[in-house]
Structures are given as structure tokens and as C-alpha cells.
Symmetry: C2
Subunit: 457 residues, 2 copies
């Protein structure tokens, strides 16, 4: 009778006692972060004292030193650098675009424009008539008209996607591959509608990639208002435009992932990773993308130390060196994990802005997801729930090494992210202190639960 | 067998068909609002062309005319005004506060300060030593020290409340009653820590009420940074301060609720009300409080007309005249509902800012709540769920007339609201277009469901 008695009568109470204990521990962590959190002050330093930090820039070097110094001050068990090589793209000058003729009449309308990341110099002014297309379908239909033109893609977001990341994915292909797809048919330059939700005129940069089979033509993103106006004009008549860009590559740069570790007391060989990326584009302060993820990662460590939390598993706090234009930080981290035969059980990335957290995404099997979702009632008071689908560019390479590592991510509210993502408006002033800290609270709570109960149902 | 067959086999399919039909209708409404919504442009007009609009001001008169004109342009079945009398408080001048001595040594530190709404003129400079207290408990303990002093209440928000409205409720009592509770013991003036979550120094005004049994001493809110500095100084030594305010009342003003109506096709006598309040404090543009609620209300009407939606019940779209300093708009609406023996089934208020919507709150019985909560899967794709507890200052008076009227409200994310609530920072620039429109989407979806299926389980 003893075992049955235990199972029927004691287990529910024990389970409830465990839930209560977790609830109290999470509340302590939340109170610590919301009351004494330093993430906002650290973000001010990173954005205002260091600023934009594209891999290869002096700012990115400074950011790694800053990160190491601040992590050390939090007194984890160790802090170290992981050197890695990264691309070293230079914008090279002030990108230029203008409308210089409409239906044969000269005009002079400067357009707000930014060269896309990785795009190369135009080698002087490129001037041509504009072929404006709604999408690739239209490009293919009109491929005979492309030769000698500047192609404009109307890569505007679909506003009916409630999750803006879905609209970004749909439009993002024009930024990534639009230049080469137009160059294939003889285009001399490409302009896109910025990948933006903002009702303003700030252009948004971001990574693109040339297909080496075709000429590497210059590619710029236009400010949303200018893009809409250009598209309207080009649908009614012949628009002649100029583009000038200055991009080039220096030899690969030496950057560093910065890693802090709390050693596990029960399973020191099992690793949980939290991280964000330290680099940003050059045109802003990288406050939401991804200064927020960096300081939230640091905040979780700070709070755990402040509360003298001794994890069962080893927890790594990683400031990845290079995500934006190469993904070399995450690749290096995974490469070393494999080399050192490390056992990773879960990795969580915060790289979707410092906005109010809405969910913790977990990319895993249905059974394991159901296990994690039992924690939702513990997270709900802090605004999140566990949902299917997680991961990110920095932690993703770990799955190439071991596909059983659980990929997770903090999902903040997405409505404002693409107002400022990769635009000059991604600055400290557009980050809200409470929203930022609340993100750290939810990461800390989820990681606490993973540490206490593991990842296996 | 027929009825049983019907119940067992057909009902689930019919129910599913109904859910699908609702889902399609809601998606249509959402697409219309996210694509063609004019709420953001209307808000720009209301805030930039009209501006702050305290009841009794010319701006508030203009706002009602603007509201009527724009509602009429949307071609509902009727638009009319409901005249009502409102208080007419005047700030009267530029409020002033300063530290003029520390431990007997003269100093001159101007403090950011705003008189609380309804507080009266100080009749010249009031100068006195400061008695700084953490709360009313400390005031009561130290009541013998109060006479002749300026009392400072450290009514700072508790940052550990995740829902900021809870922190606001807790701290709000110092704004509402602090002056008279100090005057009772002979205080000559009162200063409070602004009811603010912002890491800045903008003071926040808001309503207070004198207890007629005690002298009506001047009361100001200090900017958060100044308040923290003053409190720190007052705990260590003797701080001497000055206050000057200029408040007074003019005779009650003539304002108007503006009401638009879509007449019900099946139950025209049963009324569903949606609304926000047109008035705001004088020191800002009232963009979130409550321009957002106003333009969301108008947007729901616009979208329903654009889609030629013909409601079963009569739907009223109400721009309430006066909430901030008197609540006379909602009182008049309920008074007329009673007078005209109207049958109201549900009222929904949007008065918590134009931020990303998180839930639809419903204040009702558990059985009725469970009925509404079955709609959560239909709302979830747009970011909300149905939760317990709803209502608001403008619709609240309806329950005095008929307690069965379901009170509901849109609950947006609350993290940023008290950064700018009643402060000069509540301006158009701090409203996000997508967040604002998404609020209207969720109101429209919920009201559609109420209209289609009623409020009875």
C-alpha cells in the first residue's frame, strides 16, 4: 500500500508544493530585476558611449571589451573570449539616390536611401530609367524590359500580418536576393521599399547576398514615404533615377564572442545557453537589435548572482560577436561546442527587440513542448506563455552539431520592431525600461525552470 | 431519434461552421482596419490641430465639433450631441516649486512641478520646511510634526507590480486625498512623487479632491527625478521649499457627448455601446489618454460601414465629454439611458492607452464570463483573450441604472502607459500606428461577436 498511497495522496501535494516553490523563486527573481535591474543603464552605456558596432569596426572591439568587463564585475565562475573571424564590410560613403527625370523632363528629387549591407560600390553615379515591379512574378513577366534599368521592388510589408515577422519574411527576399535576380536580366541597379512598418521616411539597411553568377550591381533601400511616391510615379510614367553607393570589403576582422559561466552544482557537464548578439548595423545604436538581448542576457546573470542562485546545470551567458552580416559568432560557438564535445541541453536567444515579452518560443517535439507548456501558469503573471517554435540565428548552428538541443527564444510584442529595425531610429530613446526588464524577468523565469526540472518530460 | 441525431451529429458541425463564419468575418474586419484604418490620421488631427482639451476649454468645444463632423462623414444612421454641464477648472498660471534651503543654508533649486487638477491657488508663494513621509502610516505617526509644513508624500510606484494599473491604484490615493489628509494636521502645502513609471523628470498632473472639512491647501506633483532627490535630501536634513499654484474654478461649462448610432436590424431596442473620452488634461495632447480610445471607437464604425456590416443590435459609438475632472459625460449618458428607458446589453470602454492590446476584460458573473471566454480562440490571432474584470469611468454609471449591463474594456499592454499618462509626454509621436489599429481590430472583433451571439450563455 505504501507506494500507491504515496502516488495517490502525496504526489499531488508534492507537485503542488513544487509549483509553489517555483512560483516563489520566480517572484523573487522578478522583484529583483524590476527593482534593481541594471539592464537599462547598461544599454544606455552600450548605445550612447559605444554606439553602432558593425563587425570589423572599432566600436565592435570596444563593445566586446565593455561586455567582458561588465560580465566580470558580476562575478560569475568564469568569463572568456572566443575569437572568431568576421566579414568586414564598409559602407564607404554617404549613399545617394534621386529621381532626376519624369517623362523626359529633368527633375531633382533626392530620395532617402541606404545601401544594403554587403552591397558594393556603384563606381560613380549610376543613372537609368526605373522599372518598378510589385514582386518577382512581375519581374519575370517583364524580364525583357529589365536591361539597362534600375529595378525598383515594391517590397512593402503586408499590413494584415498581425505578427510583423511574417511580413518581414515575405518581404525580406527582395532585400536578400533582389539585386542578383535583376542583374540576371541586365539591371544596372536595384532599389527596394525599406522593410519597414513605420509611417515615416527612414530607410532600413540589412544584409543582402550577391549570386556570383551575375554582375554585382548596387542595391539601396528607400525611405518608405519616398518609396511609395516613386512607385506611384513609376506606375504612371517614366522615372529616371540615380544611385551611388560606396560599399567594399576589408580583410576579415578579428572579433570575439564573450562568454560568462555559472558552473552547475549537480550537472556541471550539461549546458544551458542564453544569448544575444553584440554587433549591429552601422547606421544606428543597435538598441533593440540587439542591445536589448545583450543587456537582458547580462541581467539574468546579475539577478542570479544577486540572489545567490546556484544552478544545477552550467549556465552560459553569451554575447555573440557577429550576427548581422555573417553569423560568424554563432558558427564559432557551435564549432567549439563540437570540438570540446560539450553537452548542451537548451539554448535561448533574445533577438527580437526589447519590447513587452509575449511568449517563450520552443522549437521541439510535441511531447517536449507539452512538457514545457505546463510551465505557462508560472510565466503568465509576467506576461508570457510557452508556444511552439523557437530559436535564432546565433544559437541555430548548435543544432547542426546536436539536433536534440532545445532551441528557444524570447518573443516580445512585434508591432514596433520593424518601425526601427536596421534604421537610424533604433536608438536608446526608443527602448522602454520596464519592457526591457520584463523581458529579462521572463528569460530568467524560464531558464530557472529549465535548470530546476531539465528538458525531458 | 431525429432530435438526438441532430444534437449529436449536426450541432458540432453547425457550431464549427459558425466558428468558421465568425473567423472569416473577423479576419475581414481586421484586414480592413489594418489596411485602410484612418484612426492614426484622425488622432494626428485631434492631437496636433486641436491639442489638449480639458472640459471648459475652447479645444474641448472644437473636439466635439470635430468628432461630430468626422462621425457624420462615416454615414452611420444618426449622429447627435448630448449636452452636459462639466466642471471648469483653470490652471491659471505656471505652477512653481523649489528647494530654497537645506539645513538652514539658502539654496535655489527649481523643481519640475505641476499643480494637481482641481487644486486651488496658493495665493502667492507658500514657503515652509518639508516633512517628507513614505506613506499615510508615517504621516499619522508624525502628525504632531505636520503643522506649518509642506508635506511631501513619496508616492512612487512599486516597480514589482507587473500590471502598472495596480501600482497606480496603490499610489493614486496620495494624489486624490493627500492634500486634505495633511491639511487636517495643519500642513500648508503638499507635494507628491508623480504617479509615473518613466525614468525622466516630467511631472504628471491628475485629479485630486479636497475634503471640505479642512483648508484647501495647494498640491503639486513633482517630476520623478526631482522627487527622488528631494526625498533623499529630506531624509538626511531639513529641506525648506516653496510652492506657488494658481488654480481656480469658472462656472460650469457646457460640453457634449457625441453619439453615433448604427441601428440594429433584429434587435434595434437592444444597445451595445463602445466609447472613449474626448477630454484630456491641459498639459499634453491627450494622445493615449484618451485620444486613442476616441479614434478606435470611430475606427470600428468606419470599418463596419466600409464592409457594409448591418448589426443585429443597435451599436452606439460614444465620445464622452468629460472624464478627467468630473466624470460628467458618463453620468449624463447613463442619466439619459434611464430617462429614455433604454435597454443596454453591453458597454465597452477603451481608456487605457493605444498600446498593443492584450485582453478584453469583462466584468460579469462566472457563467457569463465562461460564455465570453469561448470566444478567446477567435480573438487570440489578434493578440487578445477574454479575461475577468472590465469596465471604466465613462460606462460605469450605466450599472447604477441597470446592474445587468455587461461592463467590458479593452486592456492594452500597460508597461508604457504611466510613463506619459497626464504628463506633457502624452503626445501623438508616442502612439504607434499598428498598436493603435490593432486595438480597434480587437474591439471590432469582440463587438461583432456580442452583436452576432448576444450576451446570454
Amino acid at each position: 500500500m505504501r507506494p500507491l498511497f504515496f502516488l495517490v495522496f502525496c504526489l499531488p501535494f508534492m507537485a503542488q508544493a513544487q509549483v509553489n516553490q517555483d512560483s516563489v523563486a520566480i517572484k523573487k527573481m522578478a522583484d529583483e530585476i524590476m527593482t534593481n535591474g541594471t539592464a537599462y543603464d547598461l544599454l544606455r552605456e552600450l548605445t550612447k558611449k559605444i554606439g553602432g558596432r558593425l563587425a570589423g569596426s572599432p566600436q565592435q572591439q570596444n563593445a566586446a571589451i565593455w561586455g567582458k568587463r561588465n560580465l566580470e564585475a558580476m562575478k560569475p565562475d568564469k568569463v572568456y573570449m572566443q575569437p572568431c573571424k568576421t566579414p568586414n564590410w564598409q559602407r564607404g560613403g554617404k549613399d545617394f539616390a534621386a529621381i532626376v527625370g519624369i517623362n523626359g523632363k529633368p527633375t531633382n528629387q533626392k530620395l532617402e536611401a541606404l545601401a544594403l549591407g554587403n552591397s558594393l560600390s556603384s563606381n560613380g553615379l549610376v543613372e537609368a530609367d526605373v522599372l518598378a515591379v510589385a514582386n518577382f512574378d512581375e519581374l519575370e513577366k517583364r524580364k525583357d524590359e529589365v536591361k539597362g534599368k534600375i529595378v525598383y521592388y515594391n517590397s512593402e510589408f503586408d499590413p494584415t500580418f498581425i505578427q510583423t515577422f511574417k511580413a518581414y519574411s515575405a518581404a525580406g527576399t527582395y532585400r536578400g536576393t533582389g539585386a542578383s535576380r535583376a542583374a540576371k536580366y541586365g539591371a544596372v541597379g536595384v532599389m527596394i521599399h525599406s522593410l519597414s512598418t513605420a509611417p515615416d521616411n527612414a530607410p532600413h539597411t540589412g544584409g543582402m547576398k550577391y549570386d556570383s553568377a551575375y554582375p554585382k550591381i548596387p542595391a539601396v533601400a528607400l525611405g518608405p514615404n519616398d518609396a511609395k511616391a516613386l512607385y506611384a510615379k513609376a506606375k504612371k510614367g517614366t522615372v529616371r533615377a540615380q544611385i551611388q553607393t560606396y560599399g567594399f570589403f576589408l580583410p576579415d576582422a578579428d572579433e570575439n564572442n564573450v562568454v560568462a559561466e555559472l558552473k552547475g552544482t549537480e550537472h556541471p557537464e550539461e549546458i544551458i545557453t542564453i544569448g544575444g548578439h553584440l554587433d549591429s548595423w552601422d547606421v544606428n545604436e543597435g538598441a533593440h537589435d540587439d542591445g536589448a538581448g545583450i543587456v537582458q542576457t547580462m541581467e539574468v546573470l546579475r539577478a542570479m548572482k544577486a540572489l545567490n542562485y546556484q544552478p544545477k546545470h552550467t549556465i552560459r551567458f553569451v554575447l555573440f560577436a557577429n550576427e548581422e552580416n555573417g553569423g560568424k559568432g554563432g558558427a564559432k560557438y557551435a564549432e567549439l561546442a563540437k570540438l570540446n564535445k560539450e553537452k548542451h541541453i537548451l539554448a535561448l536567444e533574445s533577438d527580437a527587440g526589447g519590447f513587452t515579452p509575449r511568449s517563450i518560443g520552443v522549437g521541439t517535439t510535441p511531447a517536449q513542448l507539452a512538457y514545457f507548456q505546463k510551465w505557462t501558469p508560472l510565466l503568465k503573471p509576467y506576461g508570457t506563455e510557452v508556444v511552439a517554435g523557437g530559436g535564432g540565428a546565433d544559437i541555430g548552428p548548435l543544432t547542426g552539431y546536436d539536433k536534440n538541443i532545445v532551441m528557444s527564444s524570447l518573443t516580445p510584442d512585434s508591432q514596433r520592431y520593424f518601425d526601427l529595425h536596421h534604421a537610424k531610429t533604433d536608438v536608446f530613446e526608443n527602448v522602454n525600461k520596464r519592457e526591457l526588464l520584463l523581458g529579462a524577468v521572463n528569460i530568467a523565469a524560464f531558464i530557472y525552470l529549465v535548470d530546476q526540472h531539465g528538458v525531458n518530460p
